[in-house]
Amino acid sequence: MYPWRLTPLLLLLVTAFGVACSSNNPKTATPASTISSVASVAAVKTASPVAPATAAALATPARTPLSTPARPASPSPAAAAVSGAIIVFAAASLTDVFNQLGDAFKKAKPGVTIKFNFAGSSALRTQLAQGAPADVFASADQANMDGARQDGSIDGPDQLFVKNKLVVVYPKTSTKVTSIQDLAKPGLNFVLTDPSVPIGNYARQSLAKLAADPAYGAGFDQKVLANLKSNETDVKAVVSKVQLGEADAAIVYATDAASAARDVATIIIPDQFNIIATYPVAVVRNAQYKVAGQAFIGFVRSAAGQDILKQAGFIVDSTTGAASGAVVLYPRPAN
């Protein structure tokens, strides 16, 4: 009615702005400020010594699964009765297989209910940093797991539980792309995720490897990225763009290609140019159900869990499962 009536609101916003500027104190560690601040990961790493845990402890995770000084686990006599309503934040590429794993886990532990939040790992990291309630975080790369640790969202160890490979996908009905070389053809609609999302990062690394090979030629990656038409926010969005035929080609995980096999065709990226995606999983620091969360991680790394992952096309090996006895703990030895 009268524009000057808005003045109080304007004043309020300006005041908030002024107050905030003056209280710009580095000591007020806001969740926000931890995201971009490049705190030393190394310092955090050395500061969290981890007692060696045995494979047996992981196989029956309810019983003091991982004893770290930072997170004293409560010895629970009722090892079998795990209960709770756990929330699992998982990378988008895990969507199908984690739903299966969740069903199998609920059968194994009737006292536990499980809910999933699937998104790009970087989006999940941000949600955790902003205090979203979660018990378990499964990332598609180590970078976002380390980032979450840096944010203070994760304090216990993280464990490798599965691996994945990259492939090129294209719409089944399309003939535009038949080889990896074709990705550099001008005018192609090529789609990836943003580099902050693991698959977008891995795909760019793989393209760089290809460019280093004379068969593809220097500048191959630049030519392919010149065709980039969209930076989606998770791998499932990339796959759907290919399924719809909007995109002519994309680089996604082998498992996503497999679950969309009805609509998309796959080109294998040779091992020497491929990037092996490694998925770490950890209990969230502010988890409401840490024991149940750890039980879920134990299940994912158990023989049964690894079998489900393998069926879905993921790579499981001696480093990913608990049954093998090889347990990769945080901090991992430098390799």
């Binding site: 309020l12 107050v19 500027c21 007020t28 806001t30 926000a32 035929g245």
Partner: protein, 287 residues
């Protein structure tokens, strides 16, 4: 303006207008009971907005964030696409609004409902619908390809998405505007010898100007805030299809401050929109 021309406004200061109103409306008992919950509700709206500005300012990086290419590109794309949308809406929507306001034809109700539909449709559904129609595998995909029209992943797709979701706001407002103009006035003008165009420009349009401006501003604001349909239909590439809303979504995955900075800019724009809106219309929600 319309109301003002019929009922002359009392030439009083705003303060006394208040008093007049308070005296005129009978006050039911127990109004005080509503004060606390309603104050909380107003806070509920105010607090997130204040928090957005507060956090952005607290970061101390607001101004440096604003110079990032991602923000410059996003604002450029948002501005150009939304202005293109508004121009298209005015060109295509005004005649339609006039038709709906001044004529009666069979199926009119249906057409009116259809045109209003995108306003209440979830934007993501709008995005999927656009894909199904104009995507490369859409119903008209082959025809568009044949015509050499490449829409996928271009700014054209962004404009189409915005046009789809924001046009109802303009058409609705302008239709009501046309309806509010007394046809007798237009008739009088034409009896006095004014041509159709002259009548429109000197009688109809000035009388419906508030509706026109409010429709324009609402439509532009909706186009500027469009997210769901754009994400679905146009993709997300910086400098090509990444609008300010999409840039927030992308930035929040890596750098919250960038997201906050764009948020503050959009808040400022929204504020300015409301200001213009109130300048031109007596009743802010009359559409």
């Amino acid at each position: 303006m319309n109301a003002g021309s019929v009922v002359p406004e009392a030439p009083t200061a705003p303060a006394s207008r208040h008093a007049e109103k308070a005296a005129g409306i009978p006050r039911p008992h127990g109004m005080q009971l509503l004060a606390l919950p309603e104050a909380l509700f107003v806070l509920f709206i105010a607090v997130p907005l204040v928090a957005l500005v507060y956090r952005a300012a607290q970061s101390g990086q607001l101004w440096s964030s604003l110079r990032q290419p991602i923000i410059r590109d996003a604002l450029r794309i948002s501005l150009t696409t939304s202005l293109a949308t508004v121009v298209l809406v005015v060109l295509l929507g005004t005649p339609l609004a006039y038709l709906l306001a001044r004529t009666r034809f069979p199926g009119q109700q249906l057409v009116e409902t259809l045109i209003d539909l995108p306003m209440v449709l979830p934007p993501v559904v709008a995005g999927v619908a656009l894909l199904m129609a104009f995507g490369r595998r859409g119903v008209f995909g082959d025809a568009l390809n044949g015509a050499g029209l490449n829409i996928a992943f271009t700014a054209k797709a962004v404009v189409l998405a915005q046009l789809f979701v924001s046009s109802p706001f303009y058409i609705r407002a302008v239709r009501v505007g046309f309806q509010s103009v007394d046809p007798n006035l237009e008739e009088a003008a034409s009896i006095d010898g004014a041509s159709g165009l002259r009548t429109f420009l000197s009688v109809t349009f000035p009388l419906m100007l508030p509706s026109f401006v409010s429709g324009l501003v609402l439509c532009w604001a909706r186009a500027l805030s469009e997210f769901g349909a754009t994400m679905m239909f146009a993709g997300n590439l910086q400098g090509t299809t990444q609008t300010a809303s999409l840039a927030i979504m992308t930035a929040i995955q890596t750098n919250l401050f960038t997201a906050l900075a764009i948020g503050v800019i959009l808040l400022a724009v929204a504020f300015a929109v409301l200001l213009v809106f109130r300048l031109f219309t007596r009743d802010p929600l009359r559409i």
